[in-house]
């Protein structure tokens, strides 16, 4: 009986171990791909960023012109990093919360490989100049089946786990994960049909494009991030989540309002006024789920902040959930017409997107990896210093990036609203901030490299293991472990 499984801690431990063993291959390949694409996306982002303040940088390489490298930056970030990190998270979380093994792991591993080939082909296509020109759906159509098919495997695996679950209660993280697997395929397929496949023309294409562009963040990345936060925060500190009632309200208000928000990207465009008005209202109403989820996460944390000193997972998870609240407030206000009169078409929007994606979504994915990888591989993280570097680089790099871009965007918008200000003066004004942005990107990149090293070491097949977990304050000597392993090898001979 399922109740027995939940109440007997020893049975729960065995089930956890079984789940983790079944998940190791599939989840590791998705997360390793996520880090690979995060590195590529960051490099592509740095090149795009550098081109804005130094236009001649790599200026005569056709493949690296701004119009090509910038879509590659975004697509590898959202699909390459976001898609794979979210897929790995979805598989592991769902398996853990259903207490079932991951079904057909070989197929899921194959799916991970196909997905990577798809992103690679698509990105090369864009670099060769075959971009479709539809933002967020730039990847050429021939790459899309390679992204859709693996996702079908994940959707099926997710449903199979859920319907063969051994638990009686469905936890809030699972609601979000189930919702993502229903929403995302509908989003991608209808957006592709309405834009690149040409089911509708003209203004309706633009509406479909931005409906998708906003929802890929809001109905794919965001729910996965929220699911991760709902799991990790109570899990690490060992307290129940604040309120089930708030979880319900947050989930359904998110489901109802987010979908409407996309058209606020087209404010001032040649759209029927009511489509934009509804987008603005949808965005503003997001205050309800955001406050709800905020209360639930932050009130659960209340009184347990001392864990932040030691737990790497909690550091990233709390950073993510706090920035979720902040960036969502920012985003809701940003959608207002009166706000957009200043910030629309400025760097402010770019600051906001990165604040959300790298301040909220990415840290929660990192938190998932920090928590689950020791369980999946049986190894501990090799260096606490690298974790500290990763954390501080992510936080500081993010703040440098978001604050400089948002400030520059507001000033830029005010100057653009002044008809007497010469356009070149406005461009010159933003240049120092664009340099700061590149600096912020470099700091983020340093953090990514630190995480890559740690990740590379933990997936190695080690003969020796650290006995204690790697906390923020732990002193780790990875070289000593390697030396001892060598000794062992010589003894065996």
């Amino acid at each position: 009986m399922s109740a027995a499984v939940e109440t007997n801690p020893q049975v729960e431990v065995v089930s956890r171990i079984e789940v983790d063993r079944s998940a190791e291959g599939a989840v590791t390949i998705y997360w390793a791909s996520a880090l690979f694409w995060l590195t590529i996306a960051t490099i592509a982002g740095l090149i795009s960023s550098a081109k804005l303040h130094s236009p001649d940088f790599l200026g005569n390489i056709e493949w690296l012109t701004f119009g090509r490298i910038r879509p590659v930056h975004w697509d590898t970030a959202i699909y390459g990093f976001g898609g794979t990190a979210a897929s790995g998270t979805l598989l592991w979380l769902q398996a853990r919360l259903c207490q079932t093994r991951i079904p057909f792991p070989a197929l899921l591993i194959a799916g991970g490989v196909i997905f990577n080939v798809g992103i690679l082909l698509g990105s090369i296509g864009v670099l060769m100049g075959q971009s479709t020109g539809v933002e967020t759906l730039e990847l050429p159509l021939y790459a899309m089946p390679l992204l859709v098919i693996p996702y079908v495997f994940i959707v099926i695996a997710n449903f199979k786990m859920y319907f063969t679950r051994k638990t009686s209660h469905t936890y809030v993280s699972q609601w979000y994960l189930m919702a993502v697997t229903v929403w995302f395929p509908i989003l991608v397929l209808s957006a592709e049909a309405c834009t690149n496949l040409g089911a509708v023309d003209g203004v309706a294409q633009a509406i479909a494009n931005w409906w998708y562009g906003h929802n890929v963040v809001g109905l794919f990345a965001t729910p996965t991030g929220i699911a991760a936060a709902y799991y990790l925060i109570p899990k690490v500190i060992g307290k129940p989540i604040h309120s089930y009632h708030l979880s319900l309200l947050g989930f359904w208000s998110n489901a109802i309002f987010y979908n409407w928000a996309g058209t606020h990207h087209l404010t001032g465009g040649p759209l029927p006024a009511w489509t934009i008005t509804i987008g603005v209202v949808g965005s503003l109403m997001m205050f309800i789920p955001v406050i709800t989820i905020g209360i639930n996460h932050h009130m659960t944390m209340l009184g347990s902040f001392h864990h932040l000193k030691t737990s790497p997972t909690l550091r990233f998870a709390v950073m993510g959930s706090m920035i979720y609240t902040l960036s969502s407030f920012q985003g809701s206000l940003e959608s207002l017409r009166s706000h957009q009169e200043i910030t629309h078409f400025t760097h402010y929007t770019i600051g906001h997107v990165h604040f959300g994606m790298y301040g909220f979504f990415a840290p929660l994915m990192f938190a998932m990896m920090y928590y689950a990888m020791p369980r999946l591989t049986g190894n501990e993280w090799s260096s606490a210093r690298l974790i500290r570097i990763h954390f501080w680089c992510t936080l500081i790099g993010m703040l440098v990036y978001a604050i400089s871009m948002c400030y520059a965007g507001i000033r830029q918008g005010m100057m653009m609203n002044d008809p007497t200000a010469p356009f070149l003066d406005i461009v010159r004004f933003t240049v120092p901030f664009l340099w700061i942005r590149t600096l912020g990107g470099l700091i983020l990149f340093a953090g990514t490299i630190a995480f890559l090293i740690n990740f590379w070491r933990i997936v190695q097949p080690h003969r020796l293991r650290f006995v204690t977990p790697t906390l923020m304050t732990t002193e780790r000597d990875y070289n000593m472990l390697l030396n001892k392993e060598k000794e062992l090898e010589q003894n065996d001979k």
């Binding site: 939940e6 801690p9 729960e12 431990v13 956890r16 171990i17 983790d20 063993r21 919360l97 209660h169 936890y171 809030v172 993280s173 709902y230 799991y231 109570p234 899990k235 690490v236 500190i237 060992g238 307290k239 129940p240 989540i241 604040h242 309120s243 089930y244 009632h245 708030l246 979880s247 309200l249 040649p270 759209l271 029927p272 006024a273 009511w274 008005t277 509804i278 603005v280 209202v281 503003l284 109403m285 309800i288 709800t292 209360i295 009130m299 659960t300 017409r337 369980r375 049986g378 501990e380 003969r463 020796l464 293991r465 006995v467 204690t468 977990p469 000597d477 000593m480 001892k484 062992l488």
Partner: protein, 214 residues
């Protein structure tokens, strides 16, 4: 750390299946799966939600435009008063003058041999009927201004601008580039348009003929 003791920091990876529990020390040390608390939703927050919903309804009502596929203005019914508001003829004229700068130049001095100047020109500051007639129908062929001969074509603007805009640009030109002359009213342009608006471009002689008859 004593080297003769087995190092307490490390343990061997299990090589046999029956040591599976040891391999998964991470899974064993963790807390049990998360549970839901049952605190009630704060009443103040529900009241806040109520106000958000009220605001949403208000915003849709206030900025829904006219709820058609072509109504681009979010303020329904606001378009008419904006359009009929009186405009400063110098500002409107300056805007319209952008169309003139390609030939007559931003400084109104024209180009020698091709485009006559507007600055200090009797055609501009003199008879306003004649000036309006030039703007409406355009000019073809030789033309003498201030003793200098020009030969080019000036397009007709009657289809591009309404009477108010043509009057405004006339007022603007008559009071810029060092010129000083009375503003031109919309009615003057309207009358000239009625009289000769159907004709083709002027020549120097036909324009003089038009100006001579009152």
């Amino acid at each position: 750390m004593k080297s003769d003791q087995p190092n307490p920091e490390f343990r061997r990876a299990p090589e046999l299946q029956d040591r599976i529990l040891e391999m998964h020390s991470a899974a064993m040390r963790e807390m049990s799966e998360p549970r839901d608390g049952i605190r009630p939703t704060p009443v103040t927050f529900l009241i806040l939600c109520f106000f958000f919903t009220m605001w949403g309804g208000y915003y849709i009502g206030a900025y829904g435009g006219d709820w058609t596929g072509t109504g681009m203005n979010e303020k329904a019914g606001a378009a008419a008063p904006v359009a009929s508001a009186p405009q400063n003829p110098m500002a409107l004229g300056a805007e319209v003058y952008n169309a003139c700068t390609q030939c007559h130049q931003a400084d109104g001095k024209g180009l020698a041999g091709q485009f006559p100047p507007l600055a200090a020109s009797e055609y501009v500051t003199g008879d306003e009927r004649r000036f309006a007639a030039i703007l409406l129908n355009g000019i073809n062929g030789d033309f003498v201004v201030n003793g200098q001969k020009y030969n080019s074509q000036m397009p007709a603007w009657k289809d591009n601008y309404n009477d108010e805009e043509i009057a405004a640009v006339m007022t603007y030109v008559r009071n810029s580039f060092g010129n000083k002359a009375a503003p031109v009213s919309k009615q003057v342009v309207e009358a000239v348009r009625k009289e000769v608006g159907a004709n083709g471009p002027w020549s120097e002689s036909s324009l003089a003929e038009f100006a001579a008859k009152k």
